[in-house]
Each structure stands twice: as C-alpha cells, then as structure tokens.
C-alpha cells in the first residue's frame, strides 16, 4: 500500500462525500428550516436524473440537460408544494412521513408508466468520459473531478446564501425559531416555498450529475435517501455546515472501510473469518458512525436549534 494509493482513496472518500452532500444539502434545508420530513426528496432526485438522461440523449448537450432537469423538477416540486407539502408544514413529523411516503409510491409508478421499468441510458459527456493524469501514477476520472467541483460550489453557494443575504437571514430566522420569526413579521409561507423549490433544485442537480455514474432506474431515489438522511442526522438537522462536514465524514469512513478494513483484518485474523467479517463491517460502517455520533451528541455534530 503506497502513498499514492492512500491519497487516491482519500480523494475517493472526498468525492463520495461531496456526492452525498449534493443530495443532503437540499434535504437538510427543507428538513431544518421547514421542519418537514420529506421522504420524497429521493423522488425529486430521481426526477432530475430521468429528465437529464432523456434530454442529454435527445439534445447531446450535457449542460442543457442539467439545466432542464433542474427547471422541470423545480416546476414539479412547485406543484407538489402547492398541492401537498404546503399543508404539511405545521403537521406532525409522522404525518409528513405518511404523506411523503405516499408521494414516493405515486412517483415510482408514474416514472414506470412514463419511461418504463428498464434502467435508462445516461452517458458521461464525451469531454469528461476518460481519466485525467493528476500526477505520475494517478489517473483520475475527469467526471469525478467535476462532481467534486460541483459539490464544493454548492457548498460555497449555500454558505453565502445563508450567511450573507437577506433571504438567508429569513431562512435562518425561520430555522432557529419559527414562531418568533412569524411574530416579527417574516412571511414564513413565502420563505418556505422558496426553500422547498431550492431543495428540489438541489435534488435535481444531484440526480442529473449522478446519472452518468449510476443506474438511472425506478427506486434510485430510495437507495440514496438513506445515506442522505444519515448525513443530515450526523451533521445536525438544518445545518448546512453540519451536512457538509458529515457528508465528508461519511464519505471518508465508508471509503476507508471498503478500502482498508478487509486487508487490515486479513493481516490479523484467520482468512476465512476475515473474508466474512471485513465486507460485513465495511457495509455497516456508515451506520456505526451515525450511532456513535448520536450516542455522544444526541442532536448531531452541529445542532441548528437550541
């Protein structure tokens, strides 16, 4: 195991973490600020991936596909907000679970009816299809570098939005104490609609960007939902900073578990035990991390609310 290999795995962990952050950012905003548990975030992610895949194949333009995915998904989300989510803001978390679970069931059947059950083709833009030579001995997928860049940009953008703008101030006010904010005359309803649309846009962006390296198919939203939830819970619900740190943490722990745990166990345990134990432990590393964090800090690393 040489230094380059370790460095590459670190980069992989970072990359995976930033992918998770792309999805978790929107979720934590909606969750934290609107206090709304939106399980259908995964469905919006799926919608983004499907639209991007179709538009990319039809038009050949990847940038156009990403843009279309965000626009279409935000439009769908606006409708969803108007019809359903708006009426859930003041309701119990469990009622929100019930309603958004219902939306998942409907969304999966709708996607199946429109695009069929077979996974969709979603290709990498030709310019980024191969690897780039980072330095001697380390070719790295160009597309992953794009993902890392996109993740960092989204993080920066959200940081600036939340901390340096008037919208951000309202958002923070709504998140830390909704009743107080309403009392002070903040139009919480409008802020919420904006935040939900923003969250949907981020979900769509994540879906569109993940499409070229993952399978675009029904159920992809549910598969990504759980890691995303783990990230926002570790980070502290509602905290963008928390989601960022937690996403990197989960990315690194998960990758390190897969890359280093099996060989390490092989070195100390009999081969048959190690062969069974290594992958099993690597598979649950993320959940162990979450349980450990919550045991020490029951409201996550960066609690947004007092």
């Amino acid at each position: 195991m040489d230094a380059i290999f370790v460095f590459e795995q670190l980069l992989n962990g970072l990359g995976y973490g930033l992918m998770l952050f792309l999805i978790a950012a929107g979720l934590t905003l909606v969750f934290g600020i609107m206090d709304t548990m939106n399980l259908a975030h995964g469905s919006l992610y799926m919608a983004g991936a499907y639209v991007a895949a179709r538009v990319h194949e039809a038009s050949g333009s990847f940038a156009g596909a990403v843009l279309a995915a965000v626009l279409v998904t935000v439009a769908v989300a606006a409708l969803l907000e108007l019809l359903v989510v708006r009426h859930l803001y003041r309701r119990d978390h469990l009622v929100q679970v019930l309603a958004t679970f219902g939306i998942i069931l409907i969304a999966d059947d709708a996607v199946k009816a429109i695009w069929g059950v077979a996974p969709l083709m979603a290709s990498t833009p030709a310019a980024l299809a191969g690897p780039v030579q980072l330095f001697e001995g380390l070719p790295y997928p160009a597309y992953r570098l794009l993902l890392i860049g996109a993740g960092l940009l989204v993080a920066l953008g959200l940081y600036l939005l939340v901390n340096n703008t008037r919208v951000g101030m309202l958002v923070r006010a709504g998140a830390s104490n909704r009743q107080m904010a309403e009392f002070m005359g903040v139009r919480v309803g409008a802020v919420f609609s904006f935040v939900f649309a923003l969250g949907a846009g981020l979900a769509a962006l994540a879906g569109a960007l993940m499409a070229p390296i993952s399978s675009v198919q029904v159920g992809m939203g549910e598969a990504i939902l759980i890691p995303a939830l783990v990230v926002i819970v570790i980070g502290g619900i509602g905290s963008v900073r928390g989601a960022f740190v937690a996403a990197l943490l989960v990315g690194l722990v998960d990758t390190a578990g897969r890359a280093f745990l099996p060989p390490a166990l092989r070195a100390v345990l009999p081969p048959s035990v190690a062969a069974d134990l290594g992958p099993a432990l690597a598979g649950i590393a993320m959940y162990v991390l979450m349980a450990a964090v919550l045991t020490l800090k029951p409201a996550g690393l960066f609690p947004a609310r007092a």
Partner: protein, 326 residues
C-alpha cells in the same frame, strides 16, 4: 358521519363489537372450506401476525411518542432466533417463539439504551440505523442462508395436545396470541404506567421534574414492544416457513409505521385496522393491475388530509380518546 351517531345510539353494540369480531375470526377456519375460502385462512393469519407487531409499535409510538423506524429489525431478530434455534435442533414451537420474544426484547434493550438518549427525528434515524445494521448482518450470514434466506420446512411441534402441522391449529394459536397481546397492551395503556408514558409523550421535561424515572420508563416500553415484535417475527417465520433479510429492510419498518398511522396512532383499534386495510388493499390491487403502488399512495394522502387521526378515529368517536397524534 354514520359511525359516531351509531356509536352514541347503540353504545352496547360498540362494546360488544370486539367480541363479535373475535368470535367471527375464531370460527372462520371452520366455515372457510364450505365457502371455498381456504386460502383466506392463511391470509387472515398473516394479518393477525402483522397486527401483533403493529400493536407493539402503536404502543411505543402512540402512547409513548417513540417514533421507531426500525421495528422490522426486531421482527427480523425474532425470525432469525427461530432459525437459529431450529438449526440448533430445537423442535418445540413454544421454545422457538419464546426465544424470539426474549431475543427481540434483548435487542430492544441494547438498541433502546443507546437510542432513547435522542429525540424526534434523531430517534427515528438512529433506530433506522440499527435496523439497517441488522439487515446487512443477516444478508452476509452464510450459516442462515444470507440473502437467499432460510427455509423452515418442518412444522414446529406445539406439544401433545396441539397438532403443530395443522394450519387451522396454528391459526387459532396465532389468534389467541394476538388477542392476548392486544388485551395486554390495551390494559397497560390505561394502567398507571400507561398514563406515565403518555405524560412523557406530551411533556417529557415536566415528567422529569415530577421525579419520574423517564429514561427507564421509556426503555421498559421499548423493550416490551421489541419483545412482542420479536414474537411476531417468530410467528411470521413459521407462517412463511421461510425467513429472509428482506423482512428487515427499512421499507418494511416504514410500512409498519404507515399501517399504524393509517389505522390511528394511540387508538386501541388503530393497529389492527390499519394492517387489515393495507394488506387487503395490497392483495386486491395486485391481482388487478401491475401499477398497484400508486392507489396506496393516494390512500395515504387522503388519510393525511381527511382522516388525520387515522381510521380508528372515524369508528370510535367515543371511548378511547386519550391517544391520537399530537
């Protein structure tokens, strides 16, 4: 609304309804062959088993305010306990199911001791995390079949007086257990302990201030629910004659939660009603269309907006009103 009017006009009928339902359920296997409904004996048995698990979830969630999204984990622990005992040579149903109960409770004690330190959404997520760990553990356990599952093809013995291999006998055993569990939880919900639990749900800080050992009270409820879910898992293993990690997947936990909320949180009849309606619809819809998910989704939205207290609330306007989602 016809039901509340009916309930007020005929309080006696409402009080007797549970006994009527129980009697109907008890004679159902005897009538089924003449009606050509043999298959539905097995179906109702499954509904009853799932209702046992749902009742235990309703207890901690509806009365205790503990929104666990990992209940299927305990069901799985119970099922795999039966598998492990059978693999070890145990052939008595009571021993196997008893083991499922004990290990379900033990798992809940361990998980609860860690999880109950958190609240709200964090609690939802940490219980989910533990259930996922159990899921992945079961997937990779080669001894018990891993992802391929494990078949329990020899029926377990139920002692000298009961024929364990007879499906109707198993049905009545399940019915008796379900009725017992149901009565027990209904009773506990109205005991001093149940009131304390509701107090914690409504205002934990106040209960701490009043000197209640809040953590221990919650843990006791969580363990009881885990044990009963484990028992349901054991029964489900025998019912399906097959166990696979799929029964622990997080979507199963979510479905159980959905059925309980659909039926009515903290309502005495919530869990069985929710389970019966959901499973019946699933069964009926699947038979008629490949697109059987979305009508269930629409049903959930309808419940959220038109029957927010769940179906049981529509039926029992009077009586058990202390419960209900906050």
């Amino acid at each position: 609304m016809a039901q509340p009017a009916f309930a007020t006009r005929f309080p006696g009928a409402v009080r007797r309804l549970p006994w009527l339902v129980l009697a109907l359920l008890a004679v159902f296997p005897l009538l089924a062959p003449t009606l050509g409904l043999e298959y539905y004996v097995g179906f109702v048995r499954r509904v009853l088993i799932v209702a046992i698990a749902a009742t235990s979830l309703n207890f901690i969630l509806g009365y205790g305010g503990m929104a666990a999204l990992g209940h299927a984990g305990f069901i799985g622990v119970g099922a795999y306990t039966v598998v492990a005992l059978v693999e070890a040579g145990v052939s008595s149903a009571w021993l196997a199911w008893g083991g499922a109960l004990v290990f379900g409770g033990l798992a809940a004690a361990l998980i609860g001791a860690v999880s109950l330190r958190t609240r709200g959404v964090y609690f939802i997520m940490i219980t989910l995390a533990f259930a996922q760990m159990l899921y992945y553990l079961a997937v990779s356990l080669r001894t018990y079949g891993g992802d391929d599952g494990y078949g329990l093809y020899t029926p377990l013995a139920m002692g000298p007086w009961l024929d364990g291999a007879h499906p109707d006998v198993f049905y009545w055993v399940v019915l008796a257990i379900a009725a017992g569990v149901f009565a027990l939880f209904s009773r506990v919900a109205h005991s001093r302990y149940g009131h304390a639990l509701r107090g914690i749900r409504d205002n934990e800080t106040r209960m701490v201030a009043l000197g209640y050992p809040v953590f221990r009270l919650k843990l006791a409820g969580f363990v009881a629910a885990g044990a009963v879910a484990g028992l349901a898992g054991g029964l489900l293993a025998s019912h399906n004659t097959f166990v696979s990690p799929g029964m622990m997947h997080w979507t199963q936990s979510a479905l159980l939660l959905v059925m309980v909320i659909l039926g009515g949180l903290g309502r005495r009849w919530g869990a069985p009603l929710g389970v019966a309606l959901w499973l019946t619809l699933e069964e009926a819809l699947k038979m008629h269309t490949d697109y059987w998910h979305w009508p269930l989704g629409v049903l959930l939205l309808l419940v959220v907006f038109h029957a927010p207290q769940g179906l049981a609330a529509l039926l029992e306007r009077r009586g058990d009103r202390q419960g209900g989602a906050a």
